[in-house]
Each structure stands twice: as structure tokens, then as C-alpha cells.
Amino acid sequence: MGEQVIDTAQVLHKDLTHNQLMNLVIDVLSLDPETNTLHASFSNF
């Protein structure tokens, strides 16, 4: 499993631009309205 993850990340490294990385990050951001804090989670996918 670990090796697969690294392989995927290496593909990301080769292919992703800063804009694409930003979009990936935004997709996993969530906002807690109670505390006004940002979190990274994968439930938005």
C-alpha cells in the first residue's frame, strides 16, 4: 500500500502544476463555522 501511495505522489510531482495542486488542496478544505478554523478532510470527495 505504501509503495502505491509513493508512486501516486511521484506521478503528482511530475504532472501537477501549482494551480492543480491548489485545486486539490481546496477540494479537501472544510470550514468549521463554530471556530472559524480551516481543516483538511477528504469527505468532500
Binding site: V5, L12, H13, M22, V25, L31, D32, A40, S41
Partner: protein
């Protein structure tokens, strides 16, 4: 729709209900007699396909895995941004990308800084995959004149990919 479903999951689902889905596929087949002894066979698109049901099954499996993991929240390598000792001046030197988007029904201006020259003593678990050490994110909420920040390291990104692979 079908190509969005993981092939392994699809095969497992179809294997479990082979006879039922075979029967439903046959129900969608329309046989049209042409002049002579020829027939034209096609799928009737007006009859419900099984793709929606398969997606619902996959969604259920996703939810089950999320529950198994206990939390869907990524444990970030940097929990306290203060330890980074990143100043606004430091951020000015970094590649930056901006976007305005909606998160949690709030419009936010997001700024991503790709930091490669950390001056603090913090040492991220480098994966040596990117030319930056971390992505520093500022989110500006205009309605409250409030800026929120978060930082993701290479290690966080790999963890994220791992989570995604586990649930898909």
C-alpha cells in the same frame, strides 16, 4: 457514469448479483425485426440503468470506510502554525496562487503559498517529491474581515492520497 466506478468494486458487485443484473441487462435489450430475416438489437435508454444503484452502493462503501477510520479529517503534520515562524515578508518571496471559492457556504479568497525556504527549526518529513516544503494557505472571509490559515506538507499530501486510495 460507469467509468467513474472502480473496476474492482464493480466486478465484486456484479459477481454478487450476477443473475439479477444479467436479467436486468436482458430486460433493456430490444429486438427489432427488420425486413427479411434480419433483426436489430439495441439497449433501450429509457429503461433505468443500474449505474445509479452501483454508485449508491459505492457511496455506502465509502461511508463505511470513513466510519472504520474513525474520522475523515486529515491529521496535519503542522498543528500549530506559530512554530513555523512564517512572516508575511517570507510569503512574498514564494510562488503564490489565488482563487475565490465557496467552502462551507462561505465565500473565501484562498491564497496558496508554496514555501521552499523555511527559516524556522521545523523540519517537515520530506518526501523529496516537490520543490516546496509546504503549502501555506490563507483564507480570507470578507464578510467578517477574518483571515484563517492552514499549512499542508508533502507528508500531508501523501497521507491525503493514501486516504483517497483507501476509500476508492
Amino acid at each position: 457514469m460507469i467509468d467513474m466506478i472502480d473496476l474492482k468494486s464493480l466486478t465484486a458487485i456484479l459477481a454478487d448479483k450476477k443473475e439479477e443484473y444479467s436479467a436486468r441487462l436482458l430486460e433493456r435489450l430490444v429486438l427489432q425485426k427488420l425486413p427479411g430475416d434480419k433483426f436489430y438489437i439495441y439497449f433501450d435508454k429509457d429503461i433505468d440503468s443500474i449505474s445509479e444503484e452501483l454508485q449508491a452502493m459505492q457511496r455506502k462503501r465509502f461511508d463505511e470506510l470513513v466510519v472504520q477510520n474513525g474520522s475523515d479529517q486529515l491529521k496535519l503534520e503542522i498543528e500549530d502554525l506559530a512554530q513555523l515562524e512564517v512572516s508575511k515578508a517570507d510569503l512574498l518571496d514564494c510562488p503564490k496562487r489565488n482563487i475565490v471559492t465557496v467552502i462551507g457556504q462561505r465565500p473565501l479568497k484562498i491564497s496558496c503559498y508554496f514555501i521552499s525556504n523555511l527559516r524556522s527549526n521545523f523540519k517537515a518529513k520530506s518526501q523529496n517529491m516537490f520543490d516546496w516544503q509546504l503549502i501555506y494557505i490563507d483564507a480570507y472571509l470578507h464578510s467578517q474581515d477574518l483571515t484563517m490559515s492552514i499549512a499542508l506538507t508533502e507528508h500531508d499530501l501523501v497521507s491525503l492520497v493514501k486516504m483517497l486510495k483507501e476509500v476508492t
